[in-house]
């Protein structure tokens, strides 16, 4: 069940947004589509919603073929980056919209809308207009509105992209908790790897209209299938032809077997962690991460010569 | 194209054809009723030429006067503040809302034979200019106002901080931004002036070769049964209107050339 995308291709003129993509979203899971701009993640989401028609391939929702269906018949809830609030309606009317369209009895609508507004903590604002709400509140309203009609699938297109950092962090936690309570199959699009890793149970990394890798956040971080995934999902440096994470590069003042000579270019204090930018003997830049305790112990400063040894690195076939 | 779009487009095109395109097509067709030679002799008859010349000269004068006065009025309405400003602002639209024949009558009342201020310009070319200044009043004002409102004061402050005098700031910073608005307002005023009929028909006496503008000439030709002559002159006016619309479109594209 859940969502199945099979061999979907979508082109806009000469530009291929989705290139023969297949993806399976397990029922009830919370999946992130992660990738840089132009990777096709929003297009894929919109194809699942029916807001775009693929040139070839199928989309199945809860086992049913939805490829030819209008968005209104797919049972998808969609949340837009810029809220798409119905500006001329109150918060209450916004949330009630889908139910009114389906001509549900008034009593049922009243009950459901009240429940949802409580769930998203907007009950005191029911009679306000969207223009009177903050960005975060508008997005919560949009979520309540999408959930009101009990969709089979919930799709969110960069839902926190238009919000400031603090609100974004709050809503991330909030979305995760909401999903635990409501348990509907959810897919959201983001270009922020922290957000994807923080919120989602599964992440699909996309690049140039293709899916590079799908898996749990930990899996992607520890066992990336390509240089792109490794570099996108976390910081990484190329050392002696292989890719290594900053915390997997051992730093010492003495040479050892297999270690490379390096010069410290810059020391950045990030609280408990310290990130050191090095240039390795052949001029390549690399990042090392150590604790501030280690920093004091080694008494490192800019310009020092040190030795680095990759403890764990990955080599990928060059694409 | 999906069904509803085709339906909407079909309805729109049908409506436009019936209301606008077909009548104008009939006009163009009938203007060629006596062949190209007939067309040419109609539009180059002394009376037609005199009317056209008068029309173009007056329209140009009106356009230029409006360029200056319209800009000043817009400036005063946006940058100045005085009691009754909102009333004055609302009044600017009056020439648009008032029927042209009534406009002609009101000007005749004040600047005609029984003028209480002693100014009588009836049956003169000045009267034509006056009448058309009345009806074209809103055009430049209303195209310049929004530009002025949106113009960031900080631009002028930046220029001042860099040492520019008020005049330099106006000519080098403010005016270039106002120019597109002024131009499209002027173009609209010109188009309106060329075709104006109702307000001039009473105050000017419509004396051929003296105070007869093209629209009145056409009307006269129609009344005396010379329909293809009237049609030929009309096609000339139609061409001018189209030309002005293209100009306004070009100004619009030029205005937005620096936009993201």
């Amino acid at each position: 069940m859940g969502i199945t995308v099979r061999y979907v291709t979508k082109r806009f003129g000469d530009y291929t947004a989705l290139d023969d993509i297949s993806l399976s979203v397990p029922s009830g899971s919370l999946m992130a589509l992660l990738g840089p701009s132009g990777s096709g993640k929003s297009t894929l989401l919109r194809v699942i919603a029916g807001l775009e028609r693929p040139d070839s391939g199928d989309v199945l929702i809860s086992g049913e073929d939805a490829t030819e269906l209008d968005p209104r018949k797919r049972g998808v809830g969609f949340v837009f980056q810029h809220y798409a609030a119905f500006k001329h309606m109150t918060v209450w009317d916004n949330v009630a919209f889908g139910l009114k369209i389906r001509r549900r009895p008034k009593a049922e609508i009243r009950k459901r809308v009240a429940e949802l507004l409580e769930l998203v903590q907007l009950d005191p604002f029911a009679q306000r207009y969207p223009s009177q709400l903050s960005g975060g509140q508008r997005q919560r309203m949009a979520l309540a509105r999408a959930l009101a009609v009990e969709p089979r699938v919930l799709l969110l297109d960069e839902p926190f992209g238009a919000l400031d950092a603090r609100v974004r962090a709050e809503l991330r936690t909030w979305l995760r908790r909401l999903h635990e309570e409501v348990q509907v199959t959810t897919v959201f699009v983001t270009h922020d790897q922290h957000e994807a890793m923080d919120v989602a149970g599964h992440v699909a990394v996309m690049n140039h209209g293709r899916i590079e890798q799908v898996g749990a956040p930990r899996e992607l971080y520890e066992y990336p299938s390509s240089a792109f995934v490794m570099g996108f999902v976390g910081p990484a440096s190329k050392v002696a032809g292989a890719w290594v994470r900053p915390h997997d590069l051992e730093l010492s003042l003495e040479p050892s077997d297999g270690a490379l000579a390096a010069t410290i270019e810059r020391i950045v204090h990030l609280g408990f962690e310290v990130r050191i930018e090095l240039s390795i003997q052949d001029g390549e830049a690399a990042l090392v991460q150590i604790t501030c305790d280690d920093l004091s112990r080694l008494e490192l400063k800019r310009g020092d010569s040190v030795w680095v040894l990759p403890r764990r690195s990955r080599a990928f076939a060059e694409a | 194209m999906r069904a509803p779009s085709a339906l909407i487009l079909g309805t729109v095109l049908t409506y436009l054809s019936i209301i606008v395109a077909l009548p104008l097509a009939a006009l163009v067709w009938r203007s060629g009723g006596r062949g190209a030679a007939g067309f040419w002799s109609s539009v180059s008859s002394p009376e037609a030429l005199s009317a056209l010349e008068l029309t173009l000269v007056v329209s140009l004068v009106v356009a230029l006067v409006n360029a200056v006065s319209g800009t000043i009025i817009a400036w005063v309405l946006v940058r100045d503040d005085f009691r009754g400003r909102s009333v004055v602002n609302a009044l600017i639209d009056l020439p648009f809302a008032l029927p042209t024949i009534v406009a002609g009558l009101t000007l005749l009342a004040l600047y005609g034979p029984r003028s209480p201020v002693g100014i009588n310009v009836a049956y003169t070319r000045a009267a034509i200019v006056l009448a058309i200044l009345f009806v074209t009043l809103p055009f430049v004002v209303r195209t310049v106002q929004p530009v002025l409102l949106e113009l960031d004061r900080e631009l002028e402050q930046a220029a001042a901080s860099l040492g520019a005098t008020r005049w330099q700031t106006f000519t080098r910073v403010v005016f270039p931004n106002l120019l597109p608005g002024i131009l499209s307002g002027v173009a609209l005023a010109f188009a309106r002036a060329v075709g104006e009929f109702g307000s001039v028909v009473l105050i000017t006496g419509n004396l051929p070769f003296k105070t007869e503008v093209s629209s009145v000439y056409i009307f006269g030709q129609l009344e005396s049964g010379n329909t293809s002559g009237a049609a030929a002159a009309s096609v000339v006016l139609l061409g001018i209107s189209f030309g002005v619309l293209l100009l306004i479109g070009a100004v619009r594209r030029w205005t937005t050339r620096h936009d993201a």
């Binding site: 968005p71 369209i101 | 509803p4 779009s5 487009l9 100045d80 029927p99 024949i101």
Partner: protein, 264 residues
């Protein structure tokens, strides 16, 4: 400071000379011989018929152009097609075209020797010198206003709200009436007011196609001219006052709506 005062004086002086002075005088001349005479001048049967005719024509032209205006805006903004530039030019043309040319083109189309004229006349349907041609003329000249007001607003709204409505289960018709139209209401209202003003005040085109049969095909504006040509000065000015009052109401409506639009 003096520069500001000079500009203000120029502006207000210009407006007084060109705009306000003449208008005030019309009121004066209309009521110069007493309110009673003015009143009786505008309540004669021909006068009442003229005003009725104007209102009837307006009552037909405005809804027609409003519906057209919204549909045209939808076509232009939401469904791009080739030849859109030409369509825009044709829609804008009535604003730049002389009313006499408009009247003449209708005259040529529906006259005895016109393409459509013979067809209608053969069936005994009178187009020219009767109500139908006057309606067509008025619709022609007041065509662009609703379109021009709605297009920029429709463009700015974007499609997000409509897509959201679709995902929530609304059909295209439901989306149009519940989401799109309400978002456009002030733009449409403003366009309707402009269309109404233009229809009420139409003179040149209607003058050509109506034949000006007094009492039958004379609209209010034609009535004003007729009274003037018959040396009935009070009648002409009195009728003008009525039209001027209509114009002032239009002004007030425009002003109110402009404030509503800005407030949103």
């Amino acid at each position: 400071m003096t520069r500001k005062l000079a500009l203000r004086t120029f502006a207000l002086g210009y407006l007084a000379a060109i705009l306000v002075g003449p208008l005030v005088l019309v009121f004066y001349r209309a009521f110069e011989h007493g309110f009673g005479e003015a009143w009786s001048a505008v309540t004669t049967p021909p006068a009442l018929h003229a005003f009725e005719l104007t209102l009837l024509i307006t009552a037909i032209a405005v809804p027609a152009n409003t519906i057209f205006g919204v549909l045209c805006a939808l076509a232009v903004v939401r469904h791009p097609f080739r030849g859109k530039g030409l369509l825009n030019a044709v829609v804008d043309l009535p604003m730049a075209l002389s009313p006499v040319v408009v009247g003449l083109s209708l005259f040529l189309l529906y006259g005895r020797t016109g393409w459509f004229g013979s067809w209608f006349l053969a069936r005994g349907i009178q187009i020219l010198f009767a109500l139908p041609s006057m309606i067509l003329a008025t619709v022609f000249v007041s065509l662009p206003f609703v379109v021009r007001e709605v297009v920029p607003v429709l463009r700015e709204i974007g499609t997000d709200q409509e897509q959201a409505a679709a995902t929530l289960g609304a059909s295209r018709l439901q989306t149009f009436f519940r989401i799109t139209l309400p978002a456009l209401r002030w733009a449409i209202a403003y366009g309707v007011v402009l269309t109404t003003a233009r229809s009420l005040g139409e003179y040149g085109a209607v003058s050509v196609v109506s034949g000006r049969v007094a009492g039958k095909t004379a609209t209010a504006t034609l009535f004003v001219e007729d009274r003037y040509q018959s040396f009935d000065i009070v009648g002409a000015y009195a009728a003008s006052v009525v039209l001027a009052l209509m114009a002032v109401s239009v002004l007030l409506a425009m002003n109110l709506l402009r404030r509503k639009e800005d407030a949103l």
